[in-house]
């Protein structure tokens, strides 16, 4: 057995072999994005079976029987179970889908088998979206769907060896003609929530998770997707003053930061003890679905009637730590308006026992940092220092030896302990979460109540259509310390070491890769423009495709003239449009029945004319046969008419054939036949 069969060239492959190779290529392309999610044995199986099937196609070998396939399937299911410990769930399900699809390629016999492959293929395309819905993935999967449809069309062209391009054109035609239907359904099909609970890992997004584990992230994968958009009445405040407040993390177990438990004293403090000064900043916000039960509002947005955010269908409340909560996770896009006061004071002014919770540190974690704090405290100049002075001292330490970077590597031992020690005393490189957590730990070690606030900081400098964009890459973590007489005061240690991060409100930006670096070196402006164009496209994609929500549907209806639209309006409109499409299709078919081959139409008119002259023509007879019949039946007096028929034959089939019959010819023929008839 030769290892490689003879390759006759793509153009000389037998049709079955060519179609099989094409389908295998489409299948491989569809499965490819799952490369990183599949266990190694599944990848090996996929590669092996697809390769073998391709070999069989080219070598024209026999497909294996039913039993070996069944055994392989049972084995693969066993392996799937042993890998995932279940046959249900997302990963195991995708694994099984891929195995089924790949084994089915070995059983392509009847048309029914082909359909099974196509349906499995569409499912695998869908599962790819569970992992990523970027533009690149969408384009790749569009190619997959086109390929699958092309293969489906090929399966229904049983004659000869139709070119792939022809089948591809038919598939594209079906998809393109169907695109308006897709568009209408996409825009109007009511977006309803999940029908039953799905594992949250699928949908959780980066941003504000409500917990923070410092040092666990070696490199920040930047998420340029939009968190929300904001519009100000009047001049927007400087970006460095914009802190969008998310979860406040006060509890530290040595590894992870979390919120203060609901049963803690501090969760029950009534009211936010918020006092505002200065002018109000009215703003409007469009929030992308975060799937978290909170609103990242501008610090500080009070809970008074005229200031508090008003949102349809959600109950909002302000926690004692000044964070706005909702009564359920935000799963659709929200629009709200509220007023904030950049100058404010909040928290108790007098020390109380409740504040001791904010100086808690778990024992036996980060001992060297605690030691460092003790040493600082024992320095003579800080012996009786105020908390303000201590804050300045620690900030000075940060300023004088720390580096801001997005690729700090991981900190801490295998279980993530002592990460602060390593950061604060050894490596001194990190980004906002490193600085804020270390700062809070040090302040607590110095007996100053402190906590971490997560949220967003800043916004894109240039507005898009009057809206400023805040991205998930604007996510930030800062600190608050409690000072007697002043309440909770914001301290942003990251601003000390990387002021541009806060002052210019630059979103976190990862270092450039090789290609981007090269472009940057040649033409910085080009790189910036490219990035901007890319971001704009991505924004549009996120906003109009991924973020298209119930609210967009309702606002679309409002623009079409509905007053306070609801589900039933969507359903009515959708039903009306779909019925319209069906009617239009029927109308097209009705109109199209008249559209026939012009030569065919001419042939019918000719037959009628000739019958009037007494020449009976058979429907399948050609023009030359008609001419012969005319000569036989009518003799020499009809010679001119017969010549015309011969001329028409030449016009149609001759060297200078024309596509449509000429009108002049018909007029001449009609005149002559009329003259003959009247004689």
């Amino acid at each position: 057995m030769k290892l490689l069969p003879h390759w006759p060239g793509w153009g000389h492959l037998p049709r079955e072999a060519r179609d099989a190779l094409f389908l295998l290529a489409v299948i491989a392309w569809t499965i490819a994005p799952h490369f990183t999610h599949l266990p190694p044995w599944c990848l090996a199986l996929t590669a092996g079976v697809v390769g073998w099937r391709a070999w069989l196609a080219v070598a024209n070998g026999a497909l294996p029987g039913r039993w070996p396939l069944l055994i392989a399937l049972v084995l693969a299911m066993g392996l799937t179970f042993s890998t995932h410990r279940t046959l249900l769930g997302k990963d195991a399900g995708i694994n099984l889908l891929v195995v089924l699809m790949v084994l089915k390629t070995l059983e392509l016999r009847a048309r029914r088998d082909a359909f099974v492959v196509f349906f499995l293929g569409f499912f695998i395309v869908l599962t790819n979206f569970l992992y990523a819905q970027s533009m690149a993935v969408a384009l790749a999967m569009l190619a997959s769907v086109w390929g699958l449809l092309t293969a489906l069309v090929l399966a229904h062209m049983p004659v000869g060896r139709p070119p792939l391009a022809r089948a591809g054109a038919v598939a594209a035609k079906a998809a393109l003609l169907g695109a308006p239907i897709m568009l209408v359904l996409f825009m109007l099909f009511p977006r309803i929530g999940p029908l039953w609970a799905v594992p949250q890992d699928v949908v959780a997004k980066t941003g504000l998770s409500g917990a923070l584990r410092m040092g666990g992230i070696a490199e920040v994968a930047l998420d340029e997707s939009v968190a929300f958009r904001v519009r100000f009445e009047g001049r927007p405040p400087d970006p460095d003053r914009l802190y969008w407040r998310g979860p406040v993390l006060g509890r530290f177990d040595g590894v992870e930061w979390a919120r203060i438990e609901p049963n803690s004293v501090n969760a029950y403090v009534r009211g936010a003890e918020l006092a505002v000064r200065g002018p109000a900043v009215p703003y409007e916000m469009t929030l992308e679905p975060s799937r978290l039960p909170l609103l990242p509002l501008l610090e500080a947005t009070p809970a008074t009637v005229e200031d508090r955010p008003r949102v349809e269908g959600l109950r909002t409340s302000l926690r004692a730590d000044l964070q706005w909560m909702t009564d359920r996770p935000v799963t659709e896009r929200l629009r709200l308006s509220a007023r904030a006061f950049l100058e404010h004071r909040h928290g108790p002014l007098q020390d109380s026992l409740a504040l001791r919770e904010y100086t808690d540190l778990p024992p036996s974690f980060n001992p060297r940092t605690l030691e460092w704090a003790d040493r600082l405290r024992s320095e003579p100049r800080y012996a009786n220092a105020t908390p303000e002075a201590l804050v300045q001292a620690v900030l000075n330490t940060i300023r004088s030896g720390f580096t801001y970077t997005l690729t700090p590597g991981t900190y801490g031992d295998d279980e993530g302990r002592h990460a602060i020690d390593e950061f604060w005393l050894d490596r001194k490189r990190g980004f906002c979460e490193h600085f804020s957590t270390a700062f809070v730990v040090v302040m607590r070690a110095l007996d100053v109540p402190a906590r971490i606030v997560t949220g967003y900081q800043g916004m894109d400098i240039e507005p898009q259509d009057g809206w400023y964009v805040v991205r998930n890459s604007h996510a930030h973590a800062w600190a608050e310390v409690w000072l007697e007489g002043r309440g909770w005061v914001r301290v942003d240690p990251t601003a000390v070491v990387a002021p541009e991060r806060v002052v210019q409100s630059r979103a976190l930006r990862a270092p450039a890769g090789v290609v981007a670096g090269a472009i940057d070196a040649v033409n910085p402006a080009l790189m910036a423009n490219l990035r901007k164009a890319w971001e704009r496209a991505n924004n549009q994609w996120n906003q109009w495709v991924l973020g298209y929500s119930r609210n967009d549907q309702f606002s679309l209806l409002e623009r079409m003239g509905w007053r306070s639209p609801d589900w039933s309006d969507l359903a009515y409109l959708l039903t009306a449009l779909m019925s319209g499409a069906a009617l239009a299709g029927a109308a097209w078919a009705w109109w199209d029945r008249h559209r026939r081959d012009p030569w065919q139409r001419l042939a019918q008119r000719l037959a009628r004319r000739l019958r009037a002259l007494g020449v009976e023509a058979q429907p399948h007879e050609g023009l030359q046969a008609l001419a012969r019949r005319v000569r036989e039946a009518l003799g020499p007096r009809a010679e001119a008419l017969a010549c015309r028929l011969d001329a028409l034959d030449a016009l149609r089939y001759g060297r200078d054939a024309i596509a449509r019959p000429s009108r002049q010819w018909w007029r001449d023929f009609a005149r002559e036949s009329a003259a003959l008839g009247s004689r």
Binding site: F119, L130, H156, I181, V198, L546, R595, D597, Q618
Partner: protein, 316 residues
């Protein structure tokens, strides 16, 4: 007859018989195939998954496929619409042997693919013939029709159908052709001995026109004379075709008579006569045919053979 068959029979009997069948909206039917129903189910499951995982691109994919499926219904219908089918009357043949029906498809406004033709009442679809029809062009399909018995047969009902392009819908039309097919009797096998000797045959005995067995002269060419008997020298000199008037040429002018086929029953007799006609023609012997009420003068050649066999086929 089951009610379903009865319904189908009634439905078919309403169709006009015609040798030319133009497919229009009125005579094309379309229903989803089993695969089409499966497709709808798959789309439903995909939609459920999409809703549950809140996948925007899942909506795009599901609706894209739904749109393509809907369009494919029109494309499938449009594949047949506007096409005209002509049936060329089939040549006669022996009963029990397939005769070829040629169907010409024309008048497609666009290039059409995968148009299948078959008999409506065939037990399965494995004998369907598929053709592609180019825009403005013609294509012909050949279907084998096997007449079961001697006689004039009405051609069975034809069905033209397509699943192109996606196989989710099946469009078809049922066509009752007007043309008939004449089936000759099956020649008896083995061949029975020739009709009895001249004396016994009486009137029908081969008659001798010349006294000697020698070359006798020439006479003008008669249809059916073998080529080797033509006097080519005379022809070359510019005369009419003349044949040698040879004793043997006329000695065996055979009358094939209903009376000589001594068999009980009509069909075996006709079979025997058919076998004699075939054998006489193969042997190059001029033969005439006598059936009650029909007499075909002796002759030879393809046309004569056909005339004789046609007479046998149509006799009743």
């Amino acid at each position: 007859m089951s009610p379903r068959q009865r319904l189908r029979h009634w439905f078919e009997s309403r169709l006009p018989r015609s040798d030319s069948w133009t497919l229009t909206q009125r005579n094309i039917y379309i229903v989803p195939t089993r695969a089409g129903l499966m497709f709808a189910l798959v789309l439903l499951v995909m939609l459920l998954a999409t809703i549950n995982y809140q996948l925007s691109l899942g909506y795009v994919l599901t609706f894209l496929l739904a749109g393509a499926g809907f369009v494919s219904m029109h494309l499938t219908h449009g594949t047949l619409r506007g096409m005209t089918l002509h049936l060329k009357p089939p040549a006669s043949g022996f009963a029990g042997q397939p005769m070829m029906l040629e169907i010409v498809l024309a008048g497609a406004a666009r290039d059409q693919h995968g148009v299948g033709l078959g008999f409506e009442h065939a037990p399965d679809r494995s004998h369907d013939v598929f053709v592609d029809v180019a825009s403005g062009g013609q294509a012909s399909a050949h279907l084998a029709f096997t007449p079961p018995a001697r006689g004039l047969h009405v051609l069975p009902t034809l069905r033209v159908e397509t699943r192109f392009p996606l196989g989710l819908f099946r469009a078809w039309s049922v066509w009752r052709p007007a043309a008939t097919a004449l089936a000759w009797p099956v020649p008896e096998s083995p061949l029975a001995p020739w009709p009895a000797s001249p004396s016994a045959a009486g009137e029908a005995a081969p008659q001798t026109r010349s006294s000697s067995g020698e070359f006798d002269g020439v006479r003008s060419y008669r249809r059916g004379d073998p080529l080797k008997r033509i006097v080519w020298k005379k022809v070359a000199k510019g005369g009419d075709l003349v044949s040698r008037d040879h004793v043997s040429a006329v000695q065996l002018e055979l009358w094939l008579d209903w009376q000589h086929a001594q068999l009980p029953g009509t069909e075996p007799r006709l079979s025997r006569l058919a076998a004699w006609v075939v054998a006489a023609e193969a042997a190059g012997v001029p033969h005439g045919l006598r059936l009650p009420g029909i007499e075909i003068a002796p002759g030879a050649g393809t046309a004569h053979r056909r005339a004789s066999l046609d007479a046998l086929a149509a006799w009743s």
